[in-house]
């Protein structure tokens, strides 16, 4: 058993067989063979070794002709490794005695050697590890032959393990069979995180190198709540997690009845619960949970994984699906938040030293007006079809807000001239996610119809912590009193100006923070759709005075740990039943 730590980006627990995506996209189709197939499988292995040997010999000759003996020598080493008698004996034993498939056995044995080599403090041997991987690929290619399955052709549930998942790779995966994601690279804003969120499956990213320690077909547990990945779990661990999966399932069943009741506190105060979405199909997740609307419709996906920029019609069609599905319930469309960790292929700038402080989000929009106008036109057109609101991200000064509004007014004028229908009164809001915007919030309020506190960026900028940097990610904590004070300031201001305010971002999706947020005065939360039932349950179990007391106490504390302790205790008191693991 091996327990590895990464960055949790999508909650839940998944247990299943690993599908390891190598650079060539091999997958090991199955782990075991039938007892009476063992002889045939052994023969298949021998044939694959033979075929690989012939390939290596051919390669050696080609290289020798082109580059000379010296360069061909590496193939001699490969040949020796391929024909290594220990390797051969170990693979044969696994097939014969343990009934492993040749693919699985080859992968297990070679990866074990690669791992041993990597662990030795010797740079020559680290290179040998690459040779081993090369041989593994060669053998697998020959074993799988024409039966080599495309990644997309899944027939049974898998957990997808990869170095990095590109949009085209995730697009090829059949979502019916994908139960979780783990990647070596990436952070909270990575494509993997977004897709996992949309599929509502657990995901852990930023693991660092670990794929060589896993073979396709290995049993793996993904704990998307703690960011843990467990390879080949022992019995006790497996049982523990099976219970957790079961508990989650029964909790979800218990909460299903909450769908059609409103989120009303015990003392009768109505709380609005909106869903955060990225992909149009997620609107169904919102409807299934009885969301009051879409509080944050992220639009970055439109720019990802496509060559060139999406045109107005592409925007419009995506928005229309969401707006029509929601009927008269509000849909808050956020203009594109590209840059930093979310960069479209054609946009990548190599020279940004500090991308989170660089040309991103609204700054990028104001520098690329045509791109911005295209999106604004589509949002305005769709506003004729439903209850649409528009929201600008990452506003840090009043001037920036005015510039964005001017572009919007300009686009409105164009539409009017062309007699295109739109909602002239479309509410305009902004994300409050930069500390400077909180400090100056009273100056923003008169120019806005609503605000939404984006906690992910607010925490990052307040505490000066990059949550995607493993070295400092532990310092990233939404419970920090500094963050709470900023939220408090924003809520107070919104009250004075009688403007609606909500909180989106991961903080609002965690039940730990629900009482605090209600106590600070929030009456509207936008959360991941899957969290709506649980948040609703908390809302229905607490009273506003109770929450206000919790918030008042939290604001007096000096550090995040004390705040967390308080919030967990209070939640436990409010919800006596055990929480799902």
């Amino acid at each position: 058993m091996q327990k590895l730590q990464g960055i949790p980006v999508s909650p839940g627990v998944a247990i299943g067989e690993a599908l390891v995506m190598g650079s060539e996209g091999f997958r090991i189709p199955r782990r075991f063979v039938e007892r009476d197939a063992v002889e045939a499988e052994l023969e298949r292995f021998e044939k694959a070794v033979q075929a690989s040997k012939e390939e290596i010999l051919r390669n050696r000759e080609q290289v020798r002709e082109k580059l000379g003996d010296e360069y061909a020598a590496i193939f001699d080493a490969h040949l020796q490794m391929l024909l290594d008698r220990r390797l051969h004996d170990e693979v044969v034993e696994m097939i014969r005695d343990r009934h492993y498939s040749p693919e699985y056995a080859v992968s297990r044995v070679l990866r074990r050697y690669a791992k041993v080599f990597e662990s030795l403090e010797n740079s020559h041997l680290a290179e040998r590890a690459n040779d081993i991987v090369d041989i593994e690929r060669r053998l697998l290619r020959n074993l799988l032959g024409r039966r080599r399955e495309e990644i997309g052709q899944l027939t049974s549930p898998v957990l997808v393990l990869a170095h990095n998942l590109t949009p085209s790779e995730t697009a090829a995966l059949d979502p019916r069979f994908v139960r979780g994601f783990v990647t070596e690279v990436g952070g909270a804003g990575s494509h993997t995180a977004i897709v996992a969120g949309a599929l509502e499956i657990p995901a852990v990213v930023g693991m660092g190198p670990f794929l060589r320690e896993v073979s396709g077909g290995d049993l793996v547990i993904i704990d998307g709540d703690r960011g843990e990945v467990i390879l080949q779990p022992d019995e006790a661990t497996l049982e523990h997690y099976q219970r957790a999966v079961e508990a989650n399932r029964s909790l979800a069943e218990q909460l299903a009845h909450l769908r059609d009741v409103s989120a009303e506190t015990a003392d009768g105060v109505r709380i609005e619960l909106f869903g955060n979405i990225e992909f149009p199909h997620e609107v169904q997740h919102c409807l299934d949970r009885g969301a009051d609307g879409v509080g944050l419709y992220r639009t970055e996906f439109l720019y990802m994984g496509t060559e060139g920029e999406p045109d107005e019609q592409v925007h419009f069609e995506a928005y229309r699906r969401v707006v029509e599905a929601m009927g008269d319930r509000p849909v808050v469309i956020r203009t594109f938040d590209l840059g930093a960790d979310k960069v479209a292929t054609s946009w990548r700038r190599e020279d940004e030293r500090n991308p989170f402080l660089g040309l991103r989000s609204i700054r990028m929009a104001l520098r690329n007006l045509e791109l911005f106008r295209t999106q604004l036109r589509a949002i305005l057109r769709v506003s004729a079809l439903g209850n649409v609101r528009i929201m600008f991200p990452l506003i840090s000064t009043v001037i920036e807000l005015r510039q964005a509004k001017m572009v919007l007014a300009d686009v409105m004028e164009d539409l009017e001239e062309s007699h295109i229908d739109f909602d002239r009164q479309i509410p305009v809001g902004m994300m409050v996610e930069v500390p400077s915007a909180v400090m100056m919030i009273d100056h923003f309020m008169p120019e806005l119809d609503f605000v939404s506190v984006g906690t992910n960026d607010l925490v990052q900028y307040t505490l000066a912590v990059d949550r995607d940097n493993k070295e400092v990610a532990s310092l990233y904590n939404a419970a920090d009193p500094a963050v709470l004070k900023l939220i408090d300031m924003a809520v107070q201001s919104a009250r004075r100006f009688k403007k609606p305010i909500n909180v989106c971002g991961q903080m609002s999706s965690s039940t730990m923070f629900t009482m605090l947020l209600l106590g600070l005065g929030l009456r509207s939360l936008s959360v991941i759709p899957a969290a709506i039932p649980e948040i609703k349950r908390v809302c229905r179990s607490v009273s506003i005075p109770q929450c206000e007391e919790v918030a008042a106490r939290a604001l007096t504390l000096e550090n995040a740990r004390d705040v967390e302790t308080l919030l967990k205790e209070e939640l436990k008191k409010a919800l006596p039943e055990p929480e799902a693991a």
Binding site: D69, A73, D76, A77, Q80, M81, D84, R85, R86, L87, Y113, V116, F117, L120, E121, N122, H124, L125, R128, I132
Partner: protein
Amino acid sequence: MNVSMMSQPSVTRKVVICNEQGLHARPAELFIRLANTFESDISVVKDGQRVDGKSMLEIFTLAAGKGTELSIEARGPDAQQAADALGKLVESGFADDTTSGDEE
């Protein structure tokens, strides 16, 4: 190792690796290739770690660099020849026809 080999002569030779690269890549390959020309079982021991002298992957796991002391143990009908030849190969710094060599 099969049972009949237990009664075969056994020869051990202690050597020190003197080439810069140690027992990696090309040298290891030469060692394996030579070892496999003998009928005897060959073991290589480093600090109590014993590996199959005919398996390149196992030889690699010794991570035997320059200055490492190794025991080459041969057991079988041609044990003497095997131990001598392999010992000589290591002590020559794996000098074959292509390397300049640093024989003592």
